[in-house]
């Protein structure tokens, strides 16, 4: 790896962690102009920065506002690098459907989960907020999803997570689909009770678990 490329990748990662949007944009342009590999710029630079931000969140150094601004910076960079991606290994890419369950319109957690899944190499279909259970199942079927991620912030809408799982069963899709649940009121025991595959209190951990579970399922 050239010295300049190595330095730029490091700086991309740093500028995301440091919430510096302008610098991330500037560095991403410079990276592309030099003709460096976009995939490495994303995974080892931008996504690495977001991962580090996630760790800082888990350690209580960063909070939601910091994470959101980090992700803004990361997306600015992604927009610049993405058009230069060579999709050689896109066939083997894991696919995920994510959304906030019906009745809830808070989507910070879902958005973070989505970003973290992307950094783990997932192709993510985001259904947005207030999503009826049947929509999750429809989309999962359509794209042959490996993961369905359900998020909520309110105790009042948790029940809809179980409805999605039951629908997946009815459609005979439960065995090949990993269901991840998350959000403020969700706990491991709740995830166990409704029969979800995975849960983690934080989006970054959750995405890592999702990848592990899919990899295990496929082998």
């Amino acid at each position: 790896m050239s010295e300049l490329k190595e330095r730029l990748i490091q700086e991309l990662s740093d500028s995301v962690v440091e919430m510096d949007e302008e610098k991330t944009e500037e560095l991403s342009k410079k990276y592309v102009e030099n003709g460096f590999d976009a995939f490495e710029g994303i995974t080892e630079g931008l996504a690495d920065g977001m991962n580090r931000a996630g760790v800082l969140y888990e350690e209580g150094e960063y909070f939601i506002p910091e994470l959101l601004v980090c992700s803004d910076a990361m997306y600015l960079g992604l927009d610049i690098l993405k058009p230069h991606l060579k999709y050689a290994d896109s066939d083997s890419k894991f696919k995920a459907v994510v959304g906030v369950v019906e009745g809830d319109t808070h989507d910070i957690g879902k958005n973070l989960f989505k970003i973290m899944l992307e950094t783990q190499g997932f192709e993510v279909y985001d259904l947005g907020r207030d999503v009826p259970p049947v929509e999750f199942v429809k989309k999962a079927k359509e794209i042959n999803a490996d993961v369905v991620g359900l998020s909520t912030l309110m105790t009042t809408t948790m029940d809809n997570m179980k409805v999605v799982i039951d629908l997946l069963k009815e459609e005979g899709m439960r065995e090949k689909t990993i269901v991840m649940v998350g959000g403020g009121p969700i706990s491991q025991s709740f995830a166990d009770k409704i029969g979800a595959d995975g849960y983690a209190p934080e989006a970054s951990k959750s995405a890592r678990i999702a990848k592990e579970l899919v990899t295990k399922l496929k082998n």
């Binding site: 919430m19 209580g60 960063y62 909070f63 939601i64 506002p65 910091e66 959101l68 601004v69 803004d72 009745g103 809830d104 319109t105 808070h106 989507d107 910070i108 207030d130 309110m154 105790t155 009042t156 809408t157 948790m158 029940d159 403020g184 009121p185 969700i186 706990s187 491991q188 025991s189 709740f190 009770k193 409704i194």
Partner: protein, 363 residues
């Protein structure tokens, strides 16, 4: 009443304050819109019908004998009255659909609420009167006021406000100031009815913002609201969701009398570190235990909370960590109240250890 309490919640609280014997430790399961299930209403009725809202609160209190009756349906009472659009499902809890303004250029659209005319506030105030007249002689009646910082998020949108904390602090202060004025207007209308106020300030949680941001943006306004309330009633109950340990001392300094903490927070640590200066309430897990657990799970979790909570020298009240899910099993709420009765009074460590060592329910 078909439960064996010998005192009403008011008698219990009064005796406790005087250091006299009581029949059992105080317990408030914090039933939110689940009251609709208990009293046979649809949740949307609470948006327009004060009689229905009051009746559900009264019936719920009578069903369980809980130590507290609160007029509360959702967090959006003030933001709606200030222009936010609220999604109100037929039989589920209301939620923010669109904030009151899209960006700060529209700031002038925001007006301090008139609690007697705006949004659903008149419905809540009327319900408060009915509840007060019917049961305030038996149980402490409060209305819920959302904290100024949390309410400010709903004025401009949660994600936008979150980023503004880092990018546009001046505007955050402007939003919090007008938000506070509305909180005070509602508080005054509530206090005029002669009842208490409980403050919910969930977005001040350290699960969301850093203690630094809490001190910079939330605390100054919350302190002014607390001063305002305490100057009139002398007592302040606050609930903050999520992680709160880094700001417990701040809340003590602000004069909070009763702090209700989420199940994520460490009750024992809270009772030991700040329980000599605040009454601590909490923190039976609302989803994992009360919603998803068995009656025995609820009983044990409640007894464990008592064991941790009674280390608070100023006092402890059993509460769920947050408002209960609507579909929480009624028998689990009974199991929580009954655990308080089982613990009785006085409570000793040996007694709790014994109760914890046996199973009461066979399901």
């Amino acid at each position: 009443m078909d439960y064996p309490d010998k005192m009403t919640p008011v008698e219990r609280a009064t005796a406790k304050a005087k250091g006299e014997p009581i029949d059992r430790i105080a317990c408030n399961p914090n039933i939110g819109n689940g009251m609709a299930r208990i009293a046979g209403y649809k949740i949307s009725q609470f948006n327009t019908d004060p009689e229905a809202l009051a009746d559900a609160i009264i019936k719920t209190y009578r069903r369980f004998g809980s130590d507290g009756a609160r007029v509360f349906t959702d967090l959006f009472l003030i933001s709606e009255a200030m222009g936010a659009k609220i999604n109100m499902p037929y039989d589920n809890t209301a939620d923010l659909e669109e904030p009151a303004i899209n960006d700060m250029s529209e700031f002038d659209k925001l007006k301090v609420v008139n609690p007697y005319t705006d949004g659903r506030i008149p419905v809540h105030l009327r319900a408060l009167e009915i509840v007060r007249d019917e049961i305030a002689s038996e149980v402490g009646v409060t209305a819920s006021v959302v904290g100024p910082f949390t309410n400010a998020f709903f004025l401009i949108g949660v994600e936008k406000m979150t980023k503004m904390l880092l990018k546009d602090p001046e505007s955050v202060h402007k939003l919090c100031e007008i938000s506070l004025q509305s909180c005070i207007a509602l508080t005054d209308a509530v206090l005029e009815k002669g009842t208490g106020v409980t403050v919910s300030e969930p977005l001040s949680s350290c699960t969301v913002v850093s203690p630094k941001h809490f001190r910079e943006f939330s605390a100054p306004y919350l302190k002014r609201l607390i001063d305002h309330i305490k100057a009139r009633t002398g007592k302040l109950v606050i609930h903050i969701c999520g992680k709160t340990d880094p700001i417990w001392e701040d809340l003590v300094d602000m004069g909070v009398d009763v702090l209700s903490i989420d199940d994520i927070a460490d009750l024992e640590n809270c009772a030991e570190t700040v329980g000599d200066r605040m009454v601590i309430a909490g923190n039976v897990d609302p989803s994992g235990v009360l919603y998803a657990g068995s009656r025995e799970d609820v009983r044990k979790a409640t007894l464990k909370c008592i064991k941790q909570g009674i280390k608070a020298k100023k006092g402890y009240m059993i509460m769920s960590g947050c408002s209960l899910p609507v579909e929480v099993p009624v028998e689990n709420i009974d199991a929580m109240m009954d655990a308080a009765r089982e613990a009785g009074w006085p409570i000793t460590g040996e007694k709790l250890d014994y109760l914890l060592s046996i199973d009461k329910y066979k399901d």
